[in-house]
Symmetry: C2
Subunit: 110 residues, 2 copies
């Protein structure tokens, strides 16, 4: 068992500016199937608008913004849950004054 | 893509009093690998102290209490991350005045 505060896992820079990823539970802990990340998007920044062949299960912790998809922009706030299916285009855009922080769980890939 | 507030998914009673489970993302949404639940433990209540052959990946959203394991009781608060490995004994005990609310992700089983 591992019990930690989420900030005990350092934020790694993502492939775009203004986005950090904390891999709070993952392969390094022996997790057999999926990884929990805490993603932090700075004001005015966004995660890449992209697609991939695996899913996301997301819970928004802090901040406000939108999730962009072919369905348009949908607002997110603390308590919003998002399921992104494999191969769905998506990106998270911070449109607030503070950090946009969310949990994003992914299967082990690669 | 599904975008919802977590309370849009009703809480189902768990096998013990004082505990509710919201299956916010799961098989019903087409999720291929794992399910995200929001678990709510009322003051003075706890999840069963038990074990099973699959893992938990947990993020505490609200409230205070402990996670009990063979390692003893460890405090949890908002922002605490817990990884429970397969076959580890565990239970979440609400020791605060308000609800203890946490995300708990599990692989599809059964």
């Amino acid at each position: 068992m591992k019990v930690q505060f989420y900030t005990d896992t350092p934020a790694e820079p993502a492939e775009v500016p203004g986005v950090g990823i904390r891999w709070v539970v993952g392969k390094k802990d022996g997790a057999p199937n999926f990884a929990m990340r805490v993603i932090e998007v700075q004001p005015g920044s966004n995660t890449p608008y992209h697609t991939h062949d695996f899913e996301h299960e997301v819970y928004v912790l802090e901040g406000t913004g939108v999730i962009r998809s072919p369905q348009g922009d949908q607002p997110v706030e603390p308590g919003t849950v998002v399921y992104v299916a494999p191969n769905e285009e998506h990106g998270f855009f911070n449109q607030g004054d503070g950090v946009l922080r969310f949990i994003c769980v992914v299967p082990h890939v690669g």
